[in-house]
Each structure stands twice: as C-alpha cells, then as structure tokens.
C-alpha cells in the first residue's frame, strides 16, 4: 500500500494502541518500502536489512504506548531503522581477510540489474549520495520525515533533490 493512500499514520497508531491489528498491518504495509530503503542505503546485506527492519517494528510495539507524537510516527520509524542499521554496520565488520565491498548493497543490486530499465542504468551512473537521496525521496512521504536520515537540514533537501533530479533527467535524455 502506498503511503499517500495510508491515511493519517497517527490515527493508525492510536487504533493499534487500542489493540486494532488491522491498523497495525496498514502501518507495516505503508512504511515497509521506506524502512527497507533506509536499511539498504546504509549498505546492509539482505539478511541484515531484514533484521534491522524487524527490530524496528518490535521497538515500535514496545514503545506504542509511549510515542509522544503519534502523528510523527514516520520520523520515529525512520530514525529507529537508521539507528538499528548503523548498529549492525558497526557490529558486523567484514572479516579481516575480506576486502571491504566496493559498492554498497544498493549499488550492487543496481549494477546487477542494469538492464532492467534506463532509469536503473542512469541511477547506476550517479554518485551514491544522489542515488540514495533519490531512492529515499521516492519512498518517503515528506522531507521532514527524511531530514534525520539524510544528514541534511530540511531547507537544503529541496535544492539537493532538484539538483539530483536534474542530473537524472540529463542522463536519461543523453
């Protein structure tokens, strides 16, 4: 389910608090793509990204009664999955005899499936920073929720987004 059809996330949180499993399922279905994108853009493997996302939902379950602002649950989820992802990145360094990956998980996937479409090919040619930014912006409902993971002030997300989109546009028409 796309986030723009999710309705008000805060209302879903309040309903889940009251024990409404269907509201919980809609939250999970609405945010899974975004949380997966955040975990993958930190460079985690499939299984570690799955771990980070699962841990994030378990954290929301344990914090459900304590979330101060249910309407801001999206930002809370994004911050949490980023925190869990970075913790896994730190705790699971590559073995000493293994060279660090030259490409992040996201990059490898895009490289491997270059033929899928011209957009994939154009994204592959871009710097990881722009590529990851566009991936997250494409999956996220608002700048405000993303500012924590992008390490960018809310005010500079717009210009950076415009610059990266312009570059993608240029590559697509080249």
């Amino acid at each position: 389910m796309a986030l723009d059809r999710l309705g008000e996330p805060g209302a879903l949180v309040r309903r889940a608090r009251d024990g409404d499993g269907a509201a919980w399922a809609r939250l999970v279905e609405g945010y899974s793509d975004l949380l997966w994108s955040v975990a993958r853009t930190t460079g985690l493997s499939n299984s570690d990204a799955a771990d980070a996302v699962q841990t994030t939902w378990l954290r929301l379950v344990e914090h459900l009664d304590r979330i101060r602002d249910p309407d801001a649950v999206g930002g809370w989820l994004i911050s949490t999955v980023r925190h869990e992802s970075l913790r896994l990145v730190r705790h699971r360094p590559p073995p000493p005899d293994e060279r660090p990956a030259e490409h992040s998980a996201t990059e490898q996937v895009v490289l491997a499936r270059e033929h899928v479409c011209r957009v994939g090919s154009a994204l592959r040619a871009m710097q990881p920073r722009c590529r990851n930014l566009l991936r997250l912006l494409a999956a996220a409902p608002s700048y405000a929720e993303l500012s924590a993971v992008l390490d960018l002030p809310v005010g500079s997300i717009g210009p950076t987004r415009a610059r990266c989109l312009a570059e993608l546009s240029r590559r697509l028409s080249a």
Binding site: A16, G19, G21, W24, A25, V28, E29, S32, D33, W36, S37, R40, N46, A49, A50, D51, V53, Q54, T55, W57, L58, R59, L60, V61, E62, H63, L64, D65, R66, A105, T106, V109, V110, A112, R113, V116, C117, V119, G120, L123, L134, R135, L137, A138, A139, R161, A162, L165, L168, S169
Partner: protein, 149 residues
C-alpha cells in the same frame, strides 16, 4: 509534475531491482502479537562483551543491562560455542515469573521463576531476537527491549 513523475520512475526502478522481501513485511505484521499492553519497559542501557578463554567455560560472554519501569535487569549471555546460557538478576530482588520470548520460536517462550534474590537462568537460548517478560508479585509486568542474542 515532471519531478514527481521522475521520482515515480526511481521508485519503480528500486522496487524492481530490490523489492522489500515479503518475509520482511510478514515479520513486521507479526511483531504486533508480541505486544504486552500496559507493560513497563526496561531498555538496554549498557552492553559489554568479552572473551573468556580459560577453563571449561571458555567462550564469549555478553553482559547486558536493562533499566526502566523501576527495575534493573542484568543479564549475562554465555556462548560456549555449543549453546547459549542466559543468567540474570532482577533488582530490586523479588520472586518474579520470567519469560524469555524469542521471535524464532512458535511458542510463547520458556518460563522460569526468579529466586527471592532475583536470580534466574535459561539453560539453552537459541540465536536471534529475544526479550524478557517479568511478572512481578504486585501483578505488574515489565518487558525488556528486544536484543539479538
């Protein structure tokens, strides 16, 4: 909007090459079943890890401390290579019912009784995400945050 159309194509590209695995969505839905309404939360406050090389109990020991909801839970997870033993202490010391929940297990988890000194032991703990649930003598419940054992 041309930008929105372009972002839509970016979204489609990533969903084609790196979609969210269905198992990840299913695990998220299933997480709701672990909710204990009204439970206090003791969150991970400290984590230490050391290797124990000497003796028959050599291996890896992780010390985890959870605090919150008026309690402190100190846990040691001893990984011998053949299995994991979890020993813990609840402070203030009370005789509590302790349940170890584990996402990899179908059941509600293993249950032991903490002694009057607050000590408890789980002899065999599988690897994976786990959390402890304490049922205290005053009928309140405290859960620890989930950690990967």
């Amino acid at each position: 909007m041309i930008d929105d159309e372009l972002l839509g194509r970016v979204r489609a590209a990533f969903q084609a090459v790196d979609p969210v695995p269905e198992g990840v969505v299913a695990a998220g839905r299933a997480a709701f079943a672990w909710r204990v309404p009204g439970a206090g939360l003791a969150e991970l406050a400290d984590e230490q890890e050391e290797r124990v090389l000497a003796g028959a109990r050599g291996g890896r020991v992780r010390a985890l401390t959870f605090t919150g909801a008026g309690v402190t839970v100190e846990v040691e997870v001893h990984d011998t290579g053949r299995g994991r033993e979890l020993t813990g202490r609840l402070t203030p010391a009370v005789a509590a019912r302790v349940r170890l929940r584990h996402v990899g297990l179908e059941s509600d988890g293993a249950v032991v009784e903490a002694s009057a000194s607050g000590h408890f032991v789980f002899a065999q703990v599988p690897e994976g995400l786990a959390s402890l649930v304490f049922e205290l003598p005053d009928a309140s419940t405290v859960v620890t945050s989930w950690v990967r054992l």
